[in-house]
């Protein structure tokens, strides 16, 4: 029971402990103390998650830092947590954004502060739980639990239509997760006793919800079972991503949520959908995945172009960013369902990138929202004159978002498109049009907010970003440049985990990589070092 075996538990439950401390030990009038505790706890959690980056060994076993404990033996549910390269990156993203979310809320939230920070910390535990769970029951518990604090964050501290948005978010996600539960149960029964009532045969193994156990039967599951389970999972995950046409809860939730809520929502919550696909759908249901490729890719590509087009028509900054997320997440899905190492690596990297750049965009929008209490683009204009530092930070994040080389977005989109292109020229061609559209709507937004004369008198006295606001953004910008300039460590940590997925979902690729890649590749290898 060393530090390493308990590390994931510690990372996951430190925010919960912090929440309990605030609930029981701090009075609600002591707002400074609440903020201090929340900040320290979130910061500590980030620091605690850093060893994952340094200690996780890409050459080691598939899942590391594992911790297993009996939980509900009667049904075969275990408390099993562990991480691979994919979840390590997502955990780090979560703890970083979690800290930034807390730190960015100091002046934005002025009522019911105690509950606010409690919910923020609870949310963090829920999200981390999702990324570390290797047991379906545990996963499902965290998946559902996370909804609650998010629901309250939107419903209590949100904008004018907060209740509509909160309930829509809640019910939509719930609808998906119920289907997902059905899928989980089907797998569970197929692995064990079968289910006579619906004519589902069983393999007769000991009943278990342990994902690593279920991975072992992935290739034995008959196609029609895979199909139905895939469909059930698909609805659950696709809503969360969100994929076209299940995306309309997203703009509402984003627009109404407080800034920190939007940051978490875009940065982490959406990744749970894509994470679900890569962790469960692909390796558990390889046959169905392969058959689903054209359909999923079609939706992904529609999402890419359609999201960009709808973003272009928005008058509300947050809505614009929300629809840009639909487009970016379409890229993530496209890369994933290219089912080759390039596409999958780019896909995971783009999850991180989107968290950084879109998280950053929501923070930036929040900064002016706090000053002017409006998100309407037409209310701004000429801000570059009064807020030069803000304008510069916004420019960097904008460029990250539209995939300018030396910034993170380019690396993600590039590898995704390489993967997609290797599958189908048409996919890549259609998806790549969003490079033009993306530059169009983002730069147009930038122009309307920052360039031209100042047309509203209220804007003439706007204060530039303060030090705290700068520090919410600087870590994100540093990471954007890091991934953009030297992404090698990220590729390295992902490589074996991605390879394992490809080995299952497209064994032919790994057995005959030479069929997919031209002769010159080995020469390029030889040049290394």
């Amino acid at each position: 029971m060393g530090f390493a075996t308990n590390l994931l538990n510690i990372i996951c439950y430190v925010p919960l402990l912090g929440a309990l401390v605030i609930v029981f030990l701090v009075r609600k009038e002591q707002t400074a103390a609440i903020k201090t505790v929340a900040t320290v706890v979130a910061g500590l959690d980030f620091v605690l998650s850093l060893p994952l980056w340094f200690v996780y060994d890409p050459a080691g076993p598939a899942f590391q830092f594992s911790y297993v404990h009996d939980w509900i033996p009667a049904v075969g549910a275990t408390y099993h947590v562990g991480v691979d390269g994919i979840s390590v990156l997502l955990i780090l993203l979560t703890t970083l954004l979690g800290f930034i979310a807390v730190y960015s809320s100091f002046t934005a939230i002025n009522h019911r502060q105690k509950e606010y920070y409690v919910f923020l910390l609870l949310l963090q535990t829920g999200m981390l739980g999702v990324f570390i769970s290797l047991d379906f029951v545990l996963f499902y518990v965290f998946w559902e639990a996370m909804l609650v604090p998010m629901y309250f964050l939107i419903g209590i501290w949100g904008g004018p239509r907060k209740l509509y948005a909160a309930i829509k978010f809640f019910l939509y996600t719930l609808f998906g997760s119920v289907l997902m539960l059905v899928g989980i149960l089907t797998l569970y029964f197929y692995n064990s006793s079968g289910l006579q009532a619906i004519g589902l045969p069983g393999l007769g193994h000991a009943p278990t919800f342990d994902v690593t156990e279920l991975f072992k039967i992935a290739t034995q599951i008959p196609p029609h079972v895979q199909f139905w389970v895939f469909l059930a999972f698909f609805v659950g995950f696709a809503i969360k991503v969100p994929m076209f046409p299940f995306h309309t809860w997203l703009p509402d939730a984003h627009v109404e949520a407080p800034t920190a809520g939007s940051v978490i929502l875009a940065g982490v919550l959406l990744k749970m959908g894509t994470y679900g696909f890569i962790r469960f759908s692909l390796p558990l249901l390889p046959d169905a995945t392969r058959k689903a490729v054209p359909w999923v890719v079609a939706l992904a590509i529609i999402g890419i172009v359609y999201g960009a087009l709808v973003a272009m028509a928005q008058k509300d900054m947050k809505k614009l960013v929300a629809y840009s997320s639909v487009s970016h997440l379409g890229f993530v899905m496209l890369g994933m369902f290219a089912l080759n190492p390039q596409g999958l690596t780019g896909s995971v990297l783009q999850m991180i990138n989107h968290g950084l750049s879109t998280g950053g965009l929501f923070l930036l929008v929040g900064i002016v929202y706090e000053r002017r209490h409006t998100r309407m683009i037409s209310e701004y204009g000429g801000l570059a004159k009064v807020m030069p530092v803000y304008a510069m930070l916004f420019m960097v994040i904008t460029m990250a978002s539209i995939g300018l080389p030396t910034l993170n977005g380019f690396i993600g989109e590039f590898t995704i498109l390489v993967g997609a292109f290797n599958r189908s020229t048409t996919w890549a061609v259609i998806a790549a049009t969003s490079l033009v559209l993306g530059a169009g709507y983002m730069l147009w937004l930038y122009q309307r907010v920052f360039f031209g004369e100042i047309t509203h008198d209220e804007n003439k006295t706007l204060k530039d970003v303060n030090l705290r606001e700068q520090w919410t953004l600087i870590p994100l910008i540093v990471l954007c440049f890091w991934i953009g300039i030297y992404p090698k460590p990220f590729f390295r940590i992902l490589e074996p985990s991605i390879r394992r997925v490809v080995e299952v979902v497209d064994p032919g690729y790994m057995n005959h990589p030479e069929l997919h890649l031209p002769a010159a590749a080995p020469a390029a290898h030889a040049q290394e070092e």
Binding site: V75, V310, F414, L417, V418, F421, F451
Partner: protein
């Protein structure tokens, strides 16, 4: 010293970072020191590197800085490459870049400290990106620079961002360029798929070893690369951003939108000539687009009154000549024009800047005139550069333009790739373009410097020669506009054509089989093109010089009002694009948005109403079916399923409460268990 190649892009980058990080505090002196100093150092490094490289006889030196992208079996290195082609680019980009930095200290002096620092930060950043583009050893590194120069171009066009038209021009440049980049990126993907590498050496070697194996991929890759070049180098049909880009400060127009960035497309085609030379179709397309652009833009230049717009259309036109050369297989010839053009066009733009500076910001040539007396240095340098552009011997443009026309003629008479007739037409167009070039340039000289001053009294009072920080760069560039041409005197035979010989190892001219233009014919062609240029000058002088100035053009405009209006309004291409592509996209965006709000979200809301309306039945369903299933699992799910049922009744808070409590309990249990 060659190991220090990375310093070449790194120094300007360092300058940009320092300036950006201190942008709000730097005074002008500190900014000048950092901004110009970094480029001065870069120039020193480049001179040393090239001096050393001169002894290497065209060898290819590749410095791998670090591995950049590695996904699956695909690897892309951040690597720099020095070979004759990049050495040529390196030399004039750094030299002209440095000169323009010096000039800018004078030109931008009246700006505030903050704007001054921002200007030099962007200019340094541009140099970093441009040098990365030039030195990139593979398509992706080249693409980093390619996008980087695009960003800087955007930032600098929109430098006066409070002016609406500047900001608009910036976006237009960025987005139109992205259309080209779309093609470029697809070419990169295609190359990666076929070759597994985007390294220039790797691809060239693979093609040389087994051309038939890659035959199917060569033409699409070449054409897609050319789409990128068309965007960056402002060719038909994507040229529209460049004239608008003149909204930026004039040194920017000189550096980015005349001498360096816009020639990146030509450089890229020369860089990847191993694709183009294998694809007759791609070569033909390059030549056609180049030739047509050369003439098309020249005609627009005939009727522009803004001095910078004349130069902008002239740039588009000259870039067309460079592509025409490349399309005729004369990659070195195209690059030679890139080289000479950098000097005389930068000189012209900086001269125009000097004029604008003197006329208190006036750019309309109709309100100028007679400036010769007030600013002699600007005048003489401008005339030298104009003669170079017009192709009058012995100025630089004469040699490079003649080289291009000669090679196109050779392609026509030697029936290159069986398209001899097309090349013949292009040669005639090229000659016609040369006539127009001479005409519109001397029109500009006459309108600006000769005759009487036509501006306001206030402006007249203010007329003055520019400070030395601006005139010395003009003089240096004027010298370059003469000297640069002697490096490639093709008419004296290949032995004297040092430039072509230099580039031969990496960008050899495509041989036209069994054909040789004899010396007599060669000199006749030269005489013809000089005669054409001189007649252009003669016409311009008759129309715009002396006591009769302006009467003939006025009469012409009155006699052909439709033709004149069409040309003066640039064939209404911008209007057509706005009405189709731009308006179409906006309409599609609006329609998508309405579809999203009405249909998709309408369906979701409809489902909500339906659910609420039938909640009684769904409650029953929930109890019997979903619960029935769930209860099989464990008692632990009981509370969740009851909550589900309550949700269907619309009381979410209740469910949430139960979930929270349950969640906390479960976590507590897990913690307790996992002690």
């Amino acid at each position: 010293m060659l190991e220090l190649l990375w310093l070449v892009p790194a120094l300007p980058l360092a300058g940009a970072i320092v300036l950006l990080s201190g942008a709000l505090r730097f005074g002008k002196r500190a900014t000048t020191l950092v901004g110009v100093g970094s480029i001065g150092l870069t120039l020193a490094v480049v001179v040393t590197v090239l001096a050393q490289y001169a002894g290497r006889h065209g060898e290819i030196v590749v410095n791998q800085v670090f591995r950049w992208i590695s996904a699956g079996a695909i690897n892309v290195d951040f690597a720099l490459r020095l070979d004759p082609l990049s050495a040529v680019m390196l030399s004039f980009v750094t030299l002209v870049g440095f000169i323009i930095h010096v000039y800018s200290t004078g030109y931008m002096h009246s700006e505030g400290d903050r704007a001054y620092a921002r200007f030099f930060a962007y200019l340094n950043l541009f140099m970093f990106a441009m040098l990365t583009l030039v030195l990139g050893a593979n398509l992706v590194v080249l693409f980093i620079g390619w996008e980087g120069v695009g960003l800087c171009s955007y930032l600098l066009i929109g430098f006066y961002f409070d002016k609406e038209y500047c900001a608009n021009a910036g976006i237009k440049a960025f987005v139109v360029n992205r259309i080209g980049d779309f093609g470029f990126l697809l070419a990169i993907f295609w190359a990666l798929r076929v070759f597994g590498t985007v390294d220039f050496t790797g691809m060239a070697d693979a093609l040389a070893a087994d051309p038939t194996r890659y035959a199917a991929a060569v033409t699409p890759i070449a054409l897609l690369l050319f789409v990128g070049a068309v965007g960056k180098s402002a060719q038909l049909p994507l040229y529209v951003w460049l004239p608008d880009a003149m909204a930026g400060p004039t040194p920017v127009s000189a550096l980015i939108h005349a001498a360096t960035m816009v020639t990146a497309g030509v450089y890229m085609v020369a860089r990847t000539n191993f694709f183009f030379r294998l694809s007759p179709v791609a070569m033909l397309v390059v030549a056609l687009v180049g030739g047509l652009t050369a003439v098309f833009a020249a005609t627009i230049g005939l009727a522009q009154n803004d001095i910078k717009k004349v130069l902008a259309y002239s740039t588009v036109s000259q870039l067309g000549y460079m592509f025409l050369a490349a399309g005729a297989g004369a990659f070195a010839g195209g690059m030679f024009h890139v080289f000479t053009h950098a000097f005389f066009k930068a000189c012209l733009f900086l001269g125009a800047g000097s004029v604008i500076h003197a006329c208190s910001g006036e750019q309309d040539m109709r309100k100028m005139g007679g400036l010769k007396a007030h600013m002699p240095t600007t005048y003489w340098t401008f005339v030298v550069a104009t003669l170079a552009l017009a192709g009058i011997p012995p100025f630089a443009g004469f040699f490079s333009k003649d080289e291009i026309l000669g090679k196109v003629f050779a392609a026509a008479s030697g029936n290159l790739n069986g398209f001899g007739a097309v090349y013949a037409v292009l040669w005639v167009l090229g000659l016609a373009g040369a006539f127009m070039t001479a005409f519109y340039m001397f029109r500009a000289v006459h309108m600006t410097f000769h005759g009487e001053f036509r501006g306001s009294h206030e402006q007249a009072h203010h007329l003055h020669e520019s400070p030395r920080s601006m005139t010395v760069p003009l003089q240096v560039l004027a010298v370059g506009s003469v000297a640069a041409g002697f490096l490639g005197m093709g008419m004296f035979g290949p032995r004297v054509n040092w430039f072509e010989r230099l580039l031969h190892p990496v960008a050899a001219t495509v041989e036209v089989e069994g054909h040789h233009v004899g010396a007599g014919l060669e000199w006749s062609l030269i005489a013809l093109s000089v005669a054409v240029a001189l007649s252009g000058i003669w016409f311009a002088t008759r129309w715009y010089f002396g006591p009769q100035a302006f009467t003939r053009p006025r009469r012409f405009a009155e006699r052909f009002p439709g033709l004149y209006a069409t040309v003066a309004n640039k064939y209404y291409v911008d209007e057509a694009y706005n009405a189709t592509a731009v308006a179409g996209t906006m309409k599609l965006a609006q329609a998508s948005w309405e579809f999203d709000a009405r249909v998709i979200d309408g369906t979701v809301n409809g489902a909500r109403h339906l659910t609420v309306g039938t909640s009684f039945f769904s409650g029953l369903f929930d109890l019997n079916v979903v619960d029935g299933l769930v209860n099989l699992v464990a008692a632990a799910y009981g509370c969740a399923s009851r909550a589900l049922r309550r949700v269907q009744w619309g009381v979410v808070q209740g469910y949430a409460l139960v979930m929270t409590v349950g969640f906390v309990l479960m976590v507590a249990a897990a913690l307790w268990l996992g002690r």
